[in-house]
């Protein structure tokens, strides 16, 4: 821990340390924090210092206390996550940059492929030849997402002229006047392929968000389909529902 100064006293340093522990899942055990006395012993500070630090964390909503029971972490308040849901922007680039983070892209491959699988169905069986663009997206240099985008070859044969490590799919589609205006989404939680795990630098089998996004133009025609796999510790997915009763 850092040394306290006049302007940054010990209890604030302790607060930062505890907050960091909370944000990095160091308190997994039933989300209950150790007692004030145990925390004080562990951090080599007084109990009063721990008390003050916890009071701030409670005020900030990271923990809550139940009288006579204990202090608990709200894992629902771990909001260092990027929102990839309906409240986010059309493209990952804008979504990430809006949060003040740096987004970069590495193109793994860009190939012409012939397909017969579910992708063909997403395009209403209009095409069997596609460009397949595989990219890894980084946020502040951490692998954030693997995205595989399919574009119908005959509609977008010139896609090969673009550098998709610099330009977004939507910038490219805009040139064709084919920017999607509606997205059909399907989100599931699955264990991805080894290739995806490797690109996301995940070394053990773990559940990720898989988001299938079908972009439709103003004539309701599918123009692109993207399969995205997200590093689950970095994202959340927000949306709103309405009752139709």
């Amino acid at each position: 821990m850092n040394k306290p100064t006049e302007t940054y006293p010990l209890y604030l340093i302790v607060k930062d340390k505890l907050k960091q522990k909370i944000l990095t899942w160091n308190f997994l055990d039933g989300y209950e924090l150790p007692s004030e006395r145990d925390l004080a012993e562990e951090l080599h500070v007084s109990r009063m210092t721990v008390k003050r630090a916890l009071a701030i964390l409670e005020n900030e909503g990271y923990i809550y206390r139940i009288q006579g029971k204990g202090t608990f972490v709200h894992h629902s308040n771990l909001t260092n996550k990027i929102d990839i849901g309906d409240k986010s922007y059309i493209g990952l680039l804008q979504t990430v940059e809006k949060e003040g983070k740096k987004a970069t892209t590495h193109v793994i491959s860009f190939e012409r492929v012939t397909l017969t699988n579910a992708v063909v169905g997403h395009f209403d069986h209009q095409y069997s030849e596609f460009y397949e663009l595989k990219r890894v997206r980084y946020v502040d240099n951490e692998p954030f997402s693997v995205q595989v985008t399919y574009l119908p070859y005959e509609e977008f044969i010139d896609a090969e002229r673009y550098d998709f490590s610099i330009h977004s799919i939507y910038d490219f589609l805009e040139i064709h006047n084919q920017v999607p205006v509606i997205f059909k989404k399907e989100l599931s939680v699955t264990i991805p392929s080894e290739e995806v795990m490797e690109h996301l630098k995940i070394n053990r089998s773990k559940n990720l968000f898989q988001l299938i996004c079908i972009g439709l133009n103003q004539d309701n025609t599918p123009v692109e389909v993207t399969y995205s796999y997200f590093n689950s510790s970095m994202v959340k997915f927000s949306y709103s529902t309405k009752s139709f009763d």
Binding site: R65, G85, K185, S232, S238, T241, S243
Partner: protein, 164 residues
Amino acid sequence: MIKLEKKLDEFLSFSQLVALNSDFTLDTIVLKKEVYQSSTFVTRVLELSSKEEILELKRLRVINDIPVSIETSFLRAGLLPNINRYNFEKESLYKTIENNFNRKVSFTNEEILIVRATKDEANQLNIQFGSDLTMIKGISFDQYNNAIEYFESVNIPELYTFQS
């Protein structure tokens, strides 16, 4: 394989979602039903001007004898007087609120995260401590635009697909 398809734009309760599949039988076990003063966190999330009486209702959802979900609701007990006297193992929470308090869930704001199971959750869902769960959390609003509930549910990851 027990799968529920949740629409991202339409509000349906858990029991309504399960009822869409005639092969599924739903059982509910109430794990906790307690009224107390809201924590700072719940007070803030519900944007209450001050701490209020909250009913915390925690239910284990079992489909075809397989535990799939733990739902925790934090309800504004002040808006729903004596709500804790209902038996939520047999009665649907939202139907109870609608029939007895004239409040219907009109819309919700929700978020999905992937989180890790606590010891209690692992025991209740028959999974390993620390294994992945899909968490859905959000706020329900009634027809008068009042926030009436903050909820968190943790679900076995293969349970839900979400569609718009």
